[in-house]
Symmetry: C2
Amino acid sequence: MKRKTTRVTSYDVAKLAGVSQPTVSRAFTPNASIAKDKRDRVLAAAKQLHYLPNSIAASLSSARSNIVAVIVGDMHNPFYSESLQAFINRLQATNRQVLAFTVEDGRDCDAVLMQALRYHVDGIVVTSANLSSDLISLSREVGIPIALFNRSTSDPTLTSVRCDSVQGGGLLADAMFAAGAQSYLIVRGDPQGSTSRLRVKGFRDALASLGIGDSAITEIDGGSSYAGSYRAISKHFDSPAPQFPDAIFAVNDIMAIGCIDALRAKFNIAIPGDIMLAGFDGIREGRLGPYHLTTVRQPIEDMVTKTLDLLGRDNQGEKSATQVNCVLPGIFIPGRTVPGLAEIAPDKALEADIESISGKN
Amino acid sequence: MKRKTTRVTSYDVAKLAGVSQPTVSRAFTPNASIAKDKRDRVLAAAKQLHYLPNSIAASLSSARSNIVAVIVGDMHNPFYSESLQAFINRLQATNRQVLAFTVEDGRDCDAVLMQALRYHVDGIVVTSANLSSDLISLSREVGIPIALFNRSTSDPTLTSVRCDSVQGGGLLADAMFAAGAQSYLIVRGDPQGSTSRLRVKGFRDALASLGIGDSAITEIDGGSSYAGSYRAISKHFDSPAPQFPDAIFAVNDIMAIGCIDALRAKFNIAIPGDIMLAGFDGIREGRLGPYHLTTVRQPIEDMVTKTLDLLGRDNQGEKSATQVNCVLPGIFIPGRTVPGLAEIAPDKALEADIESISGKN
DNA sequence: TTGTAGGCGTTATCAA
DNA sequence: TTGATAACGCCTACAA
């Protein structure tokens, strides 16, 4: 049996360098026990032949692929593309690769997850997607750890990392109450997900303990998107004499931005002059000049670190012995959409905001 | 030699189904010649054993990984995260995977490219990054095709797909001239890249043929980012009696947004009332309420299709025989930052804009 | 430190 | 259509 495409293999290098094949392998392995002169000889031969170790073959024989699958549900929400970027950067820095997947709205995450399992990736990060318990147990059987990112788990045996929605919601309620808000509108997100629910809960709990009664709080559905919240706001206040609340809490930033745009364009509302407003996530867009959104930032970097840490730990052996649900606190970001918050001088805050946004072509 | 983790293999399935191992392989291969009853038997056995074909092993044996590497330079620019998403969606739909890489500003793309080559990916898409000619020839030797996305190539032997910067720049010049602009400011992008240069060229050429002399055109450096252009605008007009132009052309949308924010915040400029303005790319953020940016949209979907098409063609055999430089026309998007363009009724345009933006949590 | 031998789990080839 | 057998290119184990 003969192949057409004869690629350069470690055997070719071994022959040229006058060593055995495993020695070539060692030359490319950090901290392998190999004499310096041999390593140099091998590397020289490799360069001469344009040899590149085949990671696929390495994965097969060593049973670790150095690949982590990252499944992103909604790339339309900047929070998730920022998260994906963070995963890529972090893994790249440790010589691992990212196999990236997206799951379109409501589509089954299962097919995609199956693909990931087939590649025998070292771990799977699932962001914002509902996965069936069948697949969860399958992945467990196959021995590939799964971690949920920014998702609290319906299945308590699943490892997950997320930001403290309840605490974060509370921070925003406190800030708005302190700024004098007495009536509130909450714009909800994805009814399927727990994230929206918990943020609302944290917000309402804090208000309750501040003495704000339920009658002062209204909730509407924002569809969890810019367009959805834009429409929701447009429709909600579409009456001859709309009753505007003192404050609006949109459960995520992209929705908050949709609300702001709708309020300004359709109702000529000033923010925070007429209505104060807050979001949740801390996406870069919220820092743009027209918004300066007051929000709670999810500590993406720390969450990514923790997620990969847990995935690696799972890999070490004990498997599903210790599932962990890691909850990190959110960071309150004072913007200009809630009055009386700017401790920092406006220009300084602006500069800081700008610094935090970059982007080259 | 014994392994600890005894995973289910095709042999296990073969034994249970009472067939040979290759038959199991055939059962999982579409259009393979296998009797229906055998396939059913195999699939049943596979399901019972929770068998998943090992794609890594398949890659090794078949010499095709079904993985395409996508190297993204700047995830801070939404254009590139949108592009990455488009690649993921398209490849996923054809049962291929994306190995995602990022290259930080100015860092060497080479190390990352090397990683991709090691995985023997079927092709590599390079977006916004400078790669050395060494690596280009290496990839050619290894037989892995590379395609540049939104990059014109210094190396003319490289396949590339991009939007017609010259034509696009011309469209914007025409629109602004038609709207009455007589004096122009151009905010340049990355001086390294050809993209910015070509867009500026197209813009200036069009102005020249409209009779606008060089003395009416100023160019400044915008650093190719939101922050960079924000600062550039702030500095450029920082004088007791600043001379504002009639029109500003920022070579990409994220910079255009930075310009708008700076003009509004620092100089209280109305757009397009005081100054008209245009960008380039067609990113989602440009559609947000406060901007409604007039721009030229890059046909991302078509560009992605074309890119993958070319990568696949390269793979078919003839290798570097036919390098292709595909240039697709940009699409003029009338926004509200250049007056007199809205052919569509304002509300309808807004709705269309909103529809084009989604995003769930 | 180095080499020999064997296996990782699939697909490709060829004969039946 | 099916099965036996040989690659694919590397890593691991073990002995030297």
